[in-house]
């Protein structure tokens, strides 16, 4: 199935998504990777400089540049390896009502923490120019002291995709299924 979604999202908007479905996403998306995750977890809710309610987080460290008028523009913005954020994500999802996480490569054995509230979407790794082409606007940047790739960028997306549903709201995990199959295939290949 193919879906076209727009942030902010309610649980109902992502309920019907199942692993292997394809999603195109529009609306505001926030980037966050290692350092931003750490800081989000350390920051009390009332001191957060941005809202994550119904939001989408993109595991991405973009390459940005300032144009002649001082406005930020996106040069390249592909996904980074989501597994690095695996350990921080259950707590993250507990504290904030984020509905979509986007990244690449899947997350390590934490599909249960997505149950009933969030989905994980996999974007094609390396497709930085394609992703940049679907970013219509850079609304703001937070925590630029963390450095360009680690800062939180508020991006306005238009039909960002194709995004493959990797973990659905029921906790089904496409990546762990493929891993299980690969293990069986490995045993088959290795048999003398």
């Amino acid at each position: 199935m193919e879906y076209h979604l727009k942030t902010p999202l309610k649980t109902e908007d992502i309920e019907t998504l199942r692993t292997g479905d394809i999603v195109y996403l529009s609306g505001k998306v926030l980037t966050a990777r290692d350092e931003a995750h750490k800081r989000i977890l350390e920051t009390p809710l009332k001191e957060m400089p941005f809202s994550l309610e119904g939001g989408a987080i993109y595991h991405c460290g973009p390459l940005m540049k300032k144009d002649d008028s001082g406005q930020w523009e996106v040069v390249a913005a592909g996904p980074t390896t989501s597994a690095r954020m695996s350990a921080m994500t259950p707590k993250f999802l507990e504290l904030h009502n984020v509905r979509i996480l986007i990244g690449k490569g899947g997350m390590d054995n934490i599909a249960d923490s997505f149950r009933g509230k969030c989905v994980y979407l996999a974007y094609t790794g390396g497709c930085a120019a394609l992703a940049a082409a679907s970013i219509k606007n850079v609304h703001a940047v937070h925590w630029l002291d963390l450095g360009m790739p680690e800062a939180v960028w508020e991006l306005e997306m238009d039909e960002f995709g194709p995004l493959i549903v990797g973990i659905d709201i029921k906790g089904n995990d496409l990546f762990s299924n493929i891993r299980k199959n690969a293990k069986e295939n490995l045993n088959e290949i290795s048999r003398p």
Partner: protein
């Protein structure tokens, strides 16, 4: 006799090689991805391959980096013995990386290993990683290889026992399986067999510089096995886990069997600048 190669020629040639490597993939890699897209049986895998091909087109047309992870810069520099009295080539290469960071532009990726402080210009103690060699020409060849972390982080080096020759295939397959979608498959595998601890890693890395469509029987057999794992593009399943396997071998100690597996994502980026004795240079 002093050569006609000036400091600035080396700087500019370095910038151009990095620019080309970051924005244009070599035709053999593109052709291999196109073939994979046509032959892929999984719909999800095909959507990844279509996105990759579309991305390559946009990056080329607009001269923007193919991937936001513009990597750390590795430079393979071949110096012709007929060239005498070079300018400070190392300083020129470093300057080329700094200039490319602004001009391409590149994401500032280089940090101190412990404090994680970003140097801001993609250089620092030990980076760019420059590997020199010599040939009999009157030219300098600078090959720029931007290496992203997603695939590099999944690479391994293992010192096997000499009796474990038969377990090399198993080690490769387990490495690819454990890496899953993290290194951005379809991958290219550079494998170094023999040498020493560090030599094996260098063999594996240089194996990535060969044409993807040029494989011997051992490499083709390994490729077939890797693709039977079914990891697929981005780890979401499919026929195309790897585009190519390249194996480099070197003699080693009788008590050793070093095996290095360097994983490269589909964006197998590299470009070479050749500087003639007169200072004229071009990108090949």
């Amino acid at each position: 006799m002093e050569s006609g190669i000036k400091h600035e020629d080396i700087v500019q040639a370095t910038v151009s090689a990095i620019q080309k490597a970051e924005t244009v993939l070599t035709e053999d890699v593109v052709a291999s991805l196109e073939k994979a897209e046509q032959e892929e049986s999984s719909e999800v895998a095909q959507s990844h391959l279509k996105a990759i091909l579309k991305n390559i087109g946009i990056a080329h047309r607009h001269s923007v980096p193919i991937c936001q992870d513009t990597g750390i810069i590795i430079l393979f520099v071949e110096i012709g013995r007929k060239i005498s009295l070079l300018p400070d080539i190392e300083q020129a290469l470093i300057e080329g990386v700094r200039k490319a960071t602004v001009e391409v532009p590149l994401r500032p990726n280089v940090v101190h290993p412990l404090t994680r402080e970003n140097s801001g210009d993609n250089t620092g103690n030990g980076l760019p990683d420059i590997k020199y060699s010599f040939n009999d020409s009157d030219k300098i060849r600078i090959t720029a290889v931007p290496k992203g972390a997603g695939s590099e982080n999944m690479s391994i080096l293992k010192m096997l026992n000499p009796s474990e020759v038969d377990s090399i295939d198993q080690l490769v397959l387990e490495t690819v399986m454990n890496a899953g979608g993290k290194p951005c498959p379809p991958i290219i595998l550079g494998i170094g067999l023999g040498g020493s601890f560090d030599k094996a890693a260098l063999l594996a890395k240089t194996a990535l510089l060969g044409r993807v469509d040029n494989m011997d029987q051992q490499e083709l057999n390994m490729l077939e096995k890797v693709n039977r794992l079914g990891v697929g593009p981005m780890g979401t399943g499919g026929d195309t886990t790897a585009l190519a396997v390249h194996i480099n071998k070197a003699y080693c100690h009788t008590a050793s069997l070093p095996v290095a597996i360097n994983i490269q994502c589909w964006a197998n980026r590299h470009a070479t600048a050749v500087i003639g004795g007169d200072g004229q240079w071009n990108i090949i």
